[in-house]
Amino acid sequence: MTPLLKVDNLNKTFITTAGLANGKKQRLQAVNNLSFALIEGETLGLVGESGCGKSTTGRLILRLLEADSGEVFYKGENLLKISRSRLRPLRREMQMIFQDPFSSLNPRMRIGDILSEPFKIHKPLAATDLKRELKNLLEVVGLSVEHLDRYPHEFSGGQRQRIGIARALAVKPNLIIADEPVSALDVSIQAQIINLLQDIQKEFKLTYLFIAHDLAVVQHICDRVAVMYLGRIVEIGPALNIYRRPLHPYTEALLNAVPIPIPGRPGRALLQGEVPSPINPPSGCPFHPRCRYAKSICETDLPPLEQQSTGHESACHFAKELDMSR
């Protein structure tokens, strides 16, 4: 099967002075030799602690940010090599949904205008056709035509996320990159939006790259999951397999950290240490300072991302020996 999207050896380094008392410039490799593929119609989750490079990856794919090196193939075409004018029609097929729907909606525009904009850019329509399209869109996301004249601040967080989804759907995309789309929502509303995302995926045959830090949400909505650590994928595989038998100690640690809504469960091994910074990453396996299985080889040799079983890859020297089943 040819993938809809294929990312090859993607790299991005930022020059930054943040977090340093002396104001010195430092190189920060946010995305490090990242490769993965997205099959049409699937949902791939991207998880990991804050700062591990999830959002940067999404923005590099859409060229909201220019990569240092690497390739991004969409339907076989290298997005990083083509001209801006050739990119534009392809950008229509790839839309983004953000965590904070409020900050991504212009506060001075009515919802009707916000939703008309993508049509103006990509597909000019006669007024009556536009009206019909908007009505359909609102219905799909569970809003109504009365909402068209209102401003973003008049909506709740969940409704604003519905508007963000409607805006992304307006141009009939194939691929949606959703960056923490439900993280800011209350649980009851989060469940509504997750269901909506699943419904429209079926209806419009969408492919999702679903960026999130909530592992329970990711496992629910995703077919496959990629776990990132310090700009690299350390494990990728089918969602349920990853949960039942993680093949990387970092994945195991992440899963252990999730509080489970069942009282009286025994305590679990906690991951020690801080979320690491991509400035001065550790030698060898980047996870070794926090890894409870680390041996001396881990301090010196970088473990490659290797297939361990069909469709399940891990970058740990001991992936074959460790039994981390749950």
């Binding site: 009851s188 509080p259 489970i260 809504p261 009286g264």
Partner: protein, 317 residues
């Protein structure tokens, strides 16, 4: 230790009266953690601020009692309250930077709390600060006391805030979403730390959270809030085994769970209510799947359905 009776805190805004907290009652025993759970805007933080008498204007506590060790805090003078805050009652907020002074060294901030409430010398305060930082798991505290808050990660900052909160051995700790801004790995560390310190010191703790996983792991008692009211209170074991209120059942059903693959989640329909809405009947009615005629005409009271479990619902028995 703490007994809250019929607490009401209203905001008198240009658009009308916001009944942020509309008559809630609960109590917390020594060494016990009560989790206060609910959706955004239901009144959790205003409850916490009310206990400390720190409600911002145009908000006002308009009724009720807050008994702390038998004494009603609503009758204390402002200077008596100041002696309690940060001393016998301490608070930890979601965003650690709100509790930290960005231009003050960490050691000085902790010392300041100690010097304010205790009769000790600056040198003793410094030693006590180092000891506290050690207790909250900060590596190399002798060096850290010279650093500024912005030089630390979010998790370390929250540990500092916890150290400050615990500096004077509070009897009551109020923690308002102490880990919401943190990664799940760091959240687990902080909750483990809070639990351990609470056991050692036998503090009463009010833990505000919207995460039912955190409730199950860290609390013994739980109160579910909706639109300024407590709609269910119970022991944690009871609540998860047999939730009595349709809202509680809805919350539990809407959670995706690790290790379970379901086709669809079961959300609660509708939206979180606007704080300006007033209700004649049950405030949950517009989202409730179990409505009967009386729900729309009268406001249900909390009633005991099982020993120790209270539910505010006409259908509860």
């Amino acid at each position: 230790m703490l007994q809250v009776r019929d607490l009401k805190t209203y905001f008198f805004t240009a658009k009308g009266v916001v009944k942020a907290v509309d008559g809630i009652s609960f109590s917390i025993k020594k060494g016990e953690t009560l989790a206060l759970v609910g959706e955004s805007g239901c009144g959790k933080s205003i409850t916490a601020l009310s206990l400390l008498r720190l409600v911002p204007p145009p908000g006002k506590i308009v009724g009720g009692q807050i008994r702390f060790n038998g004494e009603d805090l609503l009758y204390l003078s402002e200077s008596e309250m100041r002696r309690l805050r940060g001393n016998r009652i301490a608070m930890v907020f979601q965003e650690p930077m709100t509790a930290l002074n960005p231009v003050l060294r960490i050691g000085d901030q902790i010392s300041e709390v100690l010097l304010q409430h205790q009769d000790i010398s600056p040198g003793e305060a410094r030693d006590a600060s180092i000891k506290l930082l050690h207790q909250v798991g900060i590596p190399a505290p002798e060096q850290r006391i010279r650093e500024f808050p912005h030089q630390l990660s979010g998790g370390l900052r929250q540990r500092i805030v916890i150290a400050m909160a615990l500096a004077c051995n509070p009897q009551l700790l109020i923690a308002d979403e102490p880990t919401t801004a943190l990664d799940v790995t760091i959240q687990a560390q902080i909750m483990e730390l809070l639990g351990r310190l609470q056991q050692q010191r036998q503090m009463a703790t009010l833990l505000i959270t919207h995460d039912l996983g955190v409730v199950a792991e860290s609390a013994q008692q739980v109160a579910i809030m909706y639109a300024g009211l407590i709609v269910e209170s119970a022991s944690v074991a009871q609540l998860f085994a047999a939730p009595g209120h349709p809202y509680t059942r809805g919350l539990l059903a809407s959670l995706p769970r690790l290790g379970e693959k379901r086709d669809r989640l079961s959300p609660i329909d509708g939206q979180v209510p606007s704080p300006l809405e007033s209700h004649t009947g049950c405030p949950f009615l517009p989202r409730c799947p179990d409505v009967i005629p009386i729900c729309s005409s009268r406001y249900p009271q909390l009633q005991e359905t099982e020993p120790g479990q209270h539910v505010r619902c006409w259908r509860a028995e």
